[in-house]
């Protein structure tokens, strides 16, 4: 159970190295996110942003350190148990939509972790599933596209379907991996507004990665700078300064020292 005092996620000196790599993708990362908080993970390509989010989603077993998500301790050597997955929604960079399925079916797929599995195999979903799906389609402004196949939608519409699928899942924590990296500034703004406002309405925490400081500033409460797998800074959105940004993206700069949070222990 998540209470007001339980962080949405907590990492204590978490490290991860991709199989076959010599350098660590994440190096002693410590981070805590409060319930309802919107946190941006900012950093250049290869900084470890996607790795961090995938690890939080339980996709990457084999890490070291201690981590908990929504009050549940993650097991370093195991994938996240299936029954915990619906509480964590993930918006993938490549969206992960089933192209030949309708927009509605893609959104309904967000209910797969919550609906009785056997009935769903025969296409039978509960009333709750249908209501959550219709609500998510409505909230994302794509109710009129529900019957269209995903591969017949524009890039922006597909993004909305992916967001709606995540919302239909009714997660308590939303992880979004560069959700607007391929969009023009206007579209990026409207989609980020959609994700963060809908998450706030639902009281869900959001951790999104981005390499655009502007986006991070405008939509996050807090910004965590990640560089070469280490946390370079952890500041409020208002407190982010140009020197921090320059340091994050400076090519020749020495990897900044990590600023781990106090070791509070993990459940």
């Amino acid at each position: 159970m998540t209470t007001a005092r339980t962080p949405a996620l907590h990492l204590n000196k978490v490290s991860y190295r991709h199989p076959g790599d010599t350098a660590s993708a994440l190096d002693a990362v410590s981070l805590s996110v409060a319930p309802g908080e919107v946190v941006a993970v900012l950093g250049p390509s290869g900084a470890g942003k996607s790795t961090l989010l995938a690890l939080l989603d339980g996709q990457l077993p084999g890490w070291a350190g201690a981590a908990s998500v929504l009050g549940h301790a993650l097991q370093p050597e195991r994938a996240l148990p299936r029954h915990l997955r619906p509480d964590t929604g993930f918006i993938f960079q490549d969206l992960g939509l089933v192209d030949r399925a309708s927009a509605r079916q893609n959104v309904l797929n967000g209910r797969l972790g919550r609906t009785p599995a056997a009935a769903s195999l025969f296409g039978r979903f509960t009333l709750d599933d249908h209501q959550a799906t219709d609500q998510a389609l409505q909230d994302c402004g794509i109710a009129d596209l529900a019957g269209r196949r995903a591969d017949q939608l524009s890039g922006g519409q597909r993004q909305r379907v992916a967001i709606a699928r995540c919302l239909a899942q009714q997660p308590k924590l939303i992880l979004a991996d560069e959700p607007v990296s391929s969009l023009d500034p206007t579209r990026a703004d409207s989609l980020m507004r959609l994700i963060t406002s809908l998450a706030r309405d639902r009281g869900a925490s959001v951790v999104f990665s981005s390499h655009q400081p502007d986006i991070a500033r405008r939509f996050a409460d807090r910004i965590v700078g990640l560089r070469a797998g280490c946390i370079a800074f952890d500041t409020s959105a208002a407190g982010l300064n140009e020197a921090q940004i320059a340091g994050l993206y400076a090519e020749a700069a020495v990897a900044p020292a990590a600023q781990p949070l106090p070791d509070t222990g993990v459940a």
């Binding site: 989603d57 299936r82 997955r85 619906p86 993938f92 969206l95 992960g96 089933v98 599995a117 769903s120």
Partner: protein
Amino acid sequence: MRSLWPAILIAAAVLWAGASADIDLSKLAASGPRMADFLSRMFPPDLSIMREMGRGLAETLRIAILGTLGSVILSVPLGIMAAETISPAWVFRPTRAALALIRAIPLILVAMLMVGAVGLGPLPGILAITFHATGMLAKFYAEAIDGVAPGPVLALDSIGATRLQRLRFGIWPQMAPVILRDTVFRFELNLRESLILGIVGAGGIGLSVQTYVRSFQYDKAATVTIAIAALVVLIELLNNLLRKRFS
């Protein structure tokens, strides 16, 4: 000089084939009247055999349908075994090699062996088509499995979908159109190939063709030939329609 070798080899092969076979081109030149006679005896086609021909064509169609069904049943497990994204190398490599070997054996040879094994009639034809088509269809199924984009499946895994839910909602929607298209394509090939199975006694319309040609009833042979061509064109049109639907 090295670049000339392919040309020299091809020229040598053509010369060898032309010089060593018992081919007398003057026969072709002198056969004009004979050909004219042959063609004139094909027309008008004898339509009195429609009923018998209908039975032969129906049997051919049945051989193609049941042979395709047999190869689909075999291709599902073999396709899974030959897919490198889900089977270990020690399973998919030998399976693929076995499928390549099956594809290398000509259908007519398989049909002759089946006739020897189970006797005359449509059954050896069905078995031959099943065996022969599986070599190709299982490979197609394996490619369909390997062609599934991992993104949507990973997304469903992250949502908390079970293995069967991922198969039903992530993998199957991607594979189904490819598998249906390939199966219909293979059915079309099976139908074309089963037309000649009767020649070796493995049932179907092929037996009629052989009988009419050998007994010089060219007008009847012409009727059967036209009917076969019409059936093949019809199936191809149907196949094209289905392929558009599955794309």
